[in-house]
């Protein structure tokens, strides 16, 4: 309080001083005014700070070891009906549960990574234009909030290499939050979720990749599905494809109405090599796709911006 009073006094003095500007030689007035304003701003900031502190001084302490306030009833939880899980998380849990049933382990992606994992270990040539396709954010240190869950491929391959040598297979899915420098609109978010899959064995092939993906989507949508592919390009898979499913009837799909679900392909030998796996001995396949679209489709949502809105009128619909 004392400090606050002092500061207010100082401010008053400063205002008086400012009134004297006419007494100062014209050529020096600008400099005089500038200095004065600087001090004034500083004092105002300190006053704001002191006022904030004053707010906090008034607060009465409570017994934090107790379970209710004095003369207050014991608090209760809110009714279960009011609660809800986030639809993206509910679906991501379902997605990983299906993959777990199919023998895949779950490794969560990280939210800040480096150029090495995001690009170098994935066979992107240095300074190659393909790196531009990902619209990455960067920190001052050159770190990258990852633009795809593939940023975890090298780590996963290394972490499970021993298991691969022992059991003959490596099967992991990587759910995670990813980021792209994109303007936000109804169908674009700068923050969204993906799920990556990685599978390595001695004799795996593209037919098995298609089999696993078909099985997954049929389990997810609880019905038989028609699938289709188209060639794609990712430096870290060779061959690379886009995987599509015919839109399920239960979601209003018509015949021939194909939806692009994810990118996939046989892991490039260089990617295996960089993780210390001999590409002469082992082959692998990998895929990655967005979760947000899957969820929008399932619930018939038309605006991706709801997901990060924190709006309870939206979220409580999923109770």
């Amino acid at each position: 309080m004392v400090e606050l009073d002092q500061l207010k006094q100082e401010l008053k003095k400063l205002n008086v001083e400012a009134g004297k500007i006419r007494e100062i030689a014209v050529e020096k007035r600008a400099e005089f005014g500038r200095k004065l304003n600087l001090r004034k701003r500083e004092i105002l900031a300190r006053i704001a700070e002191a006022e904030r502190a004053a707010l906090d001084v008034e607060v009465q302490p409570i017994d934090v070891t107790a379970w209710s306030g004095v003369n207050e009833p014991l608090p209760e939880l809110y009714p279960t009906l009011q609660g809800s899980r986030h639809p993206l998380m509910t679906e991501l849990d379902r997605v990983t549960e299906i993959y777990q049933m199919m023998g895949f382990e779950v490794v969560e992606s990280q939210q800040l990574d480096d150029e090495y994992h995001m690009f170098d270990t994935l066979n992107f040539a240095k300074d190659h234009p393909a790196r531009d396709g990902y619209d990455t954010f960067r920190t001052e240190e050159g770190l990258i909030p990852p633009a795809h869950t593939s940023t975890m491929q090298n780590r996963v391959l290394k972490r499970y290499r021993k298991q691969l040598e022992g059991r003959g297979t490596l099967a992991v899915v990587v759910p995670g939050r990813v980021y792209r420098n994109e303007d936000v609109d109804a169908t674009h978010e700068h923050t969204f979720y993906q799920c990556e899959g990685v599978y390595v064995s001695r004799d795996c092939n593209m037919g098995q990749m298609l089999g696993i993906l078909k099985e997954f989507f049929e389990k997810y949508y609880e019905q038989k599905l028609n699938i289709r592919t188209q060639p794609g390009y990712f430096p870290f898979t060779e061959p690379s494809l886009e995987f599509m499913i015919e839109k399920p009837k239960s979601l209003g799909g018509k015949k021939g109405d194909f939806l692009e679900m994810l990118g996939c392909g046989m892991i490039h030998p260089n990617v295996l090599k960089m993780a210390g796996i001999d590409p002469e001995e082992y082959h692998g396949f990998a895929w990655g796709g967005g979760i947000d679209r899957l969820v929008m489709l399932r619930y018939g949502l038309d605006d991706v911006r709801y997901f990060e809105s924190g709006n309870l009128n939206f979220l409580r619909e999923f109770g």
Binding site: T65, V70, H86, L112, Y233
Partner: protein
Amino acid sequence: MKISLNWLKKYVKIPESVSNEELIRLIGSRLVEVEGVIDETHKYDNIYIVRVETCEKIPDTHLTLCQINVGDSGLVQVVCGAPNVREGMLAVWIAPGAIVPASVHEDAPFVIGKRKMQGYESNGMLAGADELDFGEDHSGIVEIEPETAVPGDKLADVFELNDLILEIENKSLTHRPDCFGIIGFAREVAGVLGAKFEPARILAETSVKKAFSATRAITISISSPNICQRYTALILEKHGEMKAKYLTWVDTVLSKSGMKPISPIVDATNYLMLLTGQPLHAFDYDKFVAVGGKDKPEIVVRLARAGEKLILLDDTEVELNENDIVICSGETPVALAGAMGGKSTMIDENTKNIILESATFSLYNLRKTQMAHGIFSEAVTRFTKGQPPYQTLAVAEACAEMLADGFKVTGGADEYPQPERPNAVDRRSSVGRRFEEENKFSSCSSPTTVKITTEEINGLLGTDYDEKSIAQTLENVGFGVKSKRNELEILAPLWRTDIHIKEDITEEVGRLNGYDNIEPTLPLHATAEKNEMWELKKQIRNTLARFGANEVLTYSFVSGRLLERVGQDVKNSYRIVNSISPELQYIRQSLTPSLLEKTYLNEKLPVEKFAIFEMNQVYCKEWGVDAEKVPAGRMKLGLVVAERKNPETAFYKAKLYAAKLFSELNISAEFVPIKRVEAESKPYEPKRTAEILIDGEYVGVVGEFKNSVRSEFKLAPYVAGFEIDLELVKNQARSTREIKFGAKKKEDVTITTDRTYAEVLRELKDKYPEATITPGTIYQAPGQKNRNITFHIEY
């Protein structure tokens, strides 16, 4: 990229059994992602070629009254405002009832009618290029070359305008520079259809190399082959007037491909770029020589020097950097290589002689140039895919041929400092043959071949293609194949700079035959271990939802202001240098500030009472980096309870949520007055906040927020929350619960005291060591110092 199906079909024969729909499906499933199809099959309906039979000026106006011959239905009267209308010309007539083509994609397409102008009836209109959607020229009406059509012909038939335009997703062709030209695209389409591609004739058979020693001399010097592999220049000298400007096939395909007709010279370079993938550039020869200050052109290709400036074609001045490749006339930069030409050597209507550039540049440099100067032209899009150098001369010659009416080749040079031996020479193509003849390969390394077995191909794909069909598939698109007993030795064609390893060959075989023909199968493998953190989060999510709380997700990026508002040090947050906005500039250090923002939003909605929670990673520079030198994140759980009107103490609600959750996880947690300060505890009021301990170890905080914070976020008084480190909780979570059977005694004990709840509880526990003690209410009479604390005891 836009691809006209009619244009494509000029270079690849599509069997009649393959419908357009099927063709597009095959392109989509075996070549490239087709983002969309623009249907132009009716864009030019009711538009005809007509002959203007009579012209009569309408007095005191710029209008002309014309009688036009529209074929079988005789003469029709039209009023025309164009200055170039004249008797005898062939023009284009938009009949009454037709839609103006340039407006077909607008919300309200413009339908031409019958109307009176200055008292004269006008039936439809004679069209200008802009109205027909062939560029922006509005200076007059379009004229059709005599002999190419007769009155009454449909415009669409003469120029093959009933077309489907494919919109191609460029990203899926990042590795295929050859497919950025119609010819390369057509080659792939042939392959997809299982047919052998017949090389195009567009690239001239005859060599003009003799012209290199002809009358006009030109020199080229390349400072390093790393920035420019090959630079070909032809000098074209004007010897006559170009034909009158008729509407041409070139105009229509440029328009269909998303470019605009500009002038015969520019159009020829653009047309050939779209056709072959090789960008061309035309300099004004005389301006070029004048800038250089010598008597002949000296082309220098080098990196720019810092501080050099250049005014581009579009009048913008760019400050060059040391990564930019520039074309110089002697010492002076005159073009930003691969990206855009310069103003000082630009061709215009007075241009007499041309230097035609056909070159390749380093895609790495051009990628940076593109970013640094924000230039995203059709040319730079092609160069950044890595155009191979094999066809520069042939494409330049084709351009000379297109301009042969008005220009002849009088000189040229072809600088190719380190010719690379192509992987394979396609001897069926004249370009391939000539490439081999013209370049002495003695100093080059031997060609790269890929050796692979049919087992390897089938093993990776899960197919059983035989040797013959694999060889056929590859030969269809120009690969050279030698095979013996299931072993294949494969030479990639000149334009396939992306073929290096076995997997590249496997991709071609799988793709061209259709991945959809691969049988999906399921492999057998071992069972999976659970991910403890993932399972813990799932359990927390289900529990808190059952407790009536709502899970939210909020951005990982926050504003510096938000960090300051809760007293967190901005310097401790990783800062995004290319953030979308200041609101999303820093990576957050804790979840609580984001939750407080959402609390405000929901109180405003209004929602009366709620608990929101989030589980997500946060980062703080103080926490350092992991073994891989990547910052270590922490997985947190944050929860905030808030009510718009409640006079009670919010702290105890938040604490209840935390305590019930831990009990559900079979963890015994302790709540003690807070002593430490962590990033997550910054917004919390120490006098009303507890530390949460498990086995004496700190795992997080629960409390109310500082008044200053609450007022910053404009929140109602009843608000509290907690933030917990889940990594620390994970190791404590147990899946089994201890179950006690048997009868229980119940009793309530009330103690009058001025001590804290915890101190009294400790005493009671000594007295009833086996009992379960749960809290009752706390009563304090007005004016009394002591409180009555009630406990429920079961034993």
